[in-house]
């Protein structure tokens, strides 16, 4: 194939060389560590082949945190470059690659897995199920996501990163203007991860529709389950569009077709159209589960049930419905007729209405409550004012004519960080602090948590608030530098300082995870927060079969009801029955690997080799078709033993809520 190794491995840039060395060393370190500790078998049996929704969730979260770190470092690099006018830290090409990978990684490989991870851990527990509807498919979803994420990340050191923005607008992203393979990575890696996400969507729809425990009617479901369900519906409605868009991009770039090219009659605007047909719903896919988490956290720590439950449900359904009807607001300035722009301005602004309903319902959940300022609750509280700023600036953008002045400026960048970070990142932090004991059997440290919180929120506001003003003063996005005469320097510097504070905050989280893993008290109850929903009705960490006896639900906030009426909290030996559970499988992992290999070959446009590799994919599908493994039964004795262990511990636990 005549590979030019100098081009293959990006060398010559100290930054990239440094990361290459770091990556190689880390990998060697991990392999050596696992070998030394003789953990290979354990890793394979307990994690790589697992189909347990909780473990899959944890793997999602782990990858998400890692990717958040990668995306965050990208963000810091950009901030370093724009800290001073005409700074020479990164050149234009590197800046372009970095904001592209930052956007893609943050949204698709950080926000999505963090949310899907928490969905995986929590949703089956909240509806009183033993797993998701299709556990093996769930594992496959994860491995496809992981494979896509890894493929995307190696672009940094192997072959070159994509550099056309996370929106990858044509004609720029086409072969004529971006001949390198960087954008092939975009097309292929997102495709692989996207297929995984689509299957997650299907899986959770069926899980919620079919696996609810007795009495758990739709209108008794916890709000996080509702939002996860609706987000899954949006996933199924929008990801197929992205699949097609990416496939056509691949065709244009690798097979010379003319969908979006400027030659051969292609239409560059069609890409923007398809991208946002997916891209807009995508932002609600990430924000809805986050809304759900805030609902749980706010209700738990106000010690009140959620205010206006029904209108909360209607509002998410409304948001989901509208989310498919607003995509044009991302290209008001493309010159569509005034009729088009008017209609889409109106549909977009309408989203403020259901979102407002949610806002006020949260506020009134707290009213007359007893608000406990745990770290999880602090995130939920900070979310409200910050998100309102993001939301109202969104409405300003939605006004088509006004958007002619905001579009593609830092005002827009400020808007979306003000919705994405409070809306998604704060939610994930809240969710992690809240559900950590469910996942790992110990709490995160509240003191360090508060340091994390204050640094992060203050840093966040300092970083992104100045961008509103820069944007109104004409500073555009995606520009690697600006002149000294522009007068932007002070605000840009302020923003960089903010980002450093933000990074310290994130560092505090990492330290908290480490500290808590080593030193935190393991002697905690299954319900350390005195919470309201079913996931707290079982052990922390949750035993692999979730519930020895599936709970029966009589009201919303089912566990709260059980506690108040003292029902179903104990388990008698006679009630224990054998439990049927699915077996582990190596196939999803294999599929992830083979998809990764195929994708890699396709990225390098080695079409024949890629075709050969697809045989491996087909082989995987055939093996699955002939797989009749029906799972296994957990014996009564084992269940009794497990249940006794955690139920007796509960008697003498320490109270951790300060």
């Amino acid at each position: 194939m005549g590979i030019n190794w100098h081009d293959f491995f990006i060398v010559g840039n100290p930054l990239i060389l440094g990361s290459q060395i770091a990556i190689v060393l880390t990998m060697v370190g991990i392999v050596a560590g696992i070998t030394y500790l003789k953990k290979w078998k354990w890793l394979w049996r307990e994690w790589l082949t697992t189909v347990d929704h909780k473990r899959i969730g944890i793997m999602y979260i782990l990858s998400g945190v890692l990717m958040f770190f990668r995306g965050g470092v990208d963000g810091l690099l950009m901030k370093a470059q724009t800290s001073r006018p005409e700074m020479k830290f990164l050149d234009a090409q590197h800046y372009n690659e970095i904001f592209t990978t930052h956007g893609v990684i943050m949204i698709l490989f950080a926000a999505m897995p963090l949310l899907i991870g928490l969905m995986n851990v929590v949703v089956p527990l909240q509806i009183g199920a033993r797993d998701v509807a299709f556990p093996q498919l769930n594992a496959l979803s994860f491995w496809l996501f992981f494979s896509g994420a890894m493929l995307f990340n190696i672009s940094f050191v192997v072959g070159g990163s994509p550099d056309a923005g996370w929106t990858a607008y044509f004609p720029l992203a086409g072969k004529e203007f971006t001949p390198g393979i960087g954008n092939n990575y975009y097309a292929v890696a997102l495709q692989i991860a996207g297929i995984g996400t689509l299957m997650t969507g299907i899986n959770f729809i069926v899980t919620v529709l079919k696996m609810r425990t007795k009495g758990m009617t739709l209108m008794r479901m916890p709000m996080f389950t509702w939002t996860s369900f609706i987000a899954s519906v949006i996933i199924v409605a929008s990801f197929p569009i992205f699949t097609v868009a990416l496939a056509l991009m691949t065709f244009d770039r690798i097979f010379g077709t003319h969908f979006f090219t400027i030659s051969g009659g292609g239409m560059d605007m069609m890409w923007a159209n398809l991208f946002w047909l997916w891209g807009h719903p995508e932002v609600y896919i990430v924000v809805l589960p986050a809304f759900g988490m805030f609902s749980e956290v706010i209700s738990t720590f106000s010690r009140k049930r959620l205010f206006g439950y029904n209108s909360m449900v209607f509002s998410i359904v409304g948001i989901a419905f509208l989310s498919m009807l607003v995509w044009v607001h991302h290209f008001f300035t493309m010159g569509a007729g005034p009729g088009v722009n008017s209609v889409f301005s109106i549909t977009t602004m309408m989203i403020a209405i259901p979102t407002g309903v949610k806002m006020f319902n949260w506020l009134f959940t707290m009213r007359k409550g007893r608000i406990e300022l745990t770290t999880a609750m602090l995130w939920a509280l900070a979310f409200i004012p910050c998100f309102v700023i993001g939301g109202v600036t969104g409405v300003m953008l939605a006004m088509g004519a006004a958007d002619y002045q905001y579009h593609n400026t830092l005002f827009l960048v400020a808007h979306f960080h003000y919705v994405l970070i409070p809306g998604v990142v704060f939610a994930v932090f809240a969710g992690l602090y809240y559900w950590w004991p469910k996942m790992f059997g110990h709490m995160l440290n509240e003191k360090i948590g508060k340091i994390h919180f204050w640094f992060f929120t203050i840093g966040f506001n300092l970083t992104f608030m100045p961008m509103f003003f820069l944007g109104l003063d004409g500073a555009v996005r995606r520009s690697y530098t600006y002149s000294a005469e522009s007068g932007y320097a002070p605000l840009f510097l302020l923003s960089t300082i903010g980002a450093v504070i933000l990074a310290i905050g994130f560092g505090a989280l990492c330290y908290n995870i480490y500290w808590s893993a080593r030193y935190a008290d393991r002697n905690i109850s299954n319900d350390p927060w005195d919470a309201r929903t079913l996931e707290w009705a079982t052990a922390s960490p949750v035993q692999f079969y979730n519930f020895a006896k599936l709970p029966e639900v009589k009201s919303i906030d089912a566990f709260w009801y059980m506690k108040k009426h003292n029902e179903g909290l104990t388990l008698k030996d006679e009630e224990v029955e054998e439990i049927h559970m699915p077996s582990n499988s190596g196939l999803p992992f294999y599929m992830g690997v083979i998809f990764g290999i195929t994708g890699f070959l396709l990225v390098f446009e080695w079409k024949l080799a890629a075709l050969v590799a697809t045989v491996g994919i087909l082989a995987g599908l055939i093996i699955r078709s002939f797989d009749y493994n029906d799972g296994f039964h957990v014996h009564k004795d084992e269940i009794k033993k497990t249940e006794k262990a955690w139920r007796s511990v509960n008697k003498g636990v320490n109270n951790h809520v300060s």
């Binding site: 529709l209 239409m267 159209n273 398809l274 995509w327 569509a336």
Partner: protein, 97 residues
């Protein structure tokens, strides 16, 4: 959703004949008539939708089973999104020009 059909698969045969009729009707309208293009498009488009509905109900038994309702809503929703995508794209990309 009865378990055992007895005798002759009536609905299937009716469905098949109707789909043939609809197909040829569309062909006839498109090739044999000289209506304006828009009219033809509307007619053959409606025939296609009818035929799709026929397949969904008579062959695929979309509304059968304990999840019949979910399945119908799901297909209707999918169809709605598809229509929004097609009509929206055409409208937006024509730029009101």
């Amino acid at each position: 959703m009865e378990k055992n059909h007895k005798g002759f698969p009536v609905t299937h045969v009716i469905g098949f004949i109707m789909s043939l009729v609809l197909t040829f009707a569309a062909l006839g309208v498109a090739i044999k008539t000289s209506l304006p293009f828009k009219t033809i498009l509307w007619i053959i488009g409606s025939l296609a939708v009818v035929q799709a509905g026929l397949q969904l109900y008579m062959f695929m038994h979309m509304n059968e089973g304990e999840d019949g309702k979910s399945q119908v809503i799901n297909v209707a929703y999918g169809f709605f999104i598809a229509v929004v995508t097609v009509a929206g794209s055409i409208w937006v990309m024509s730029f009101g020009m």
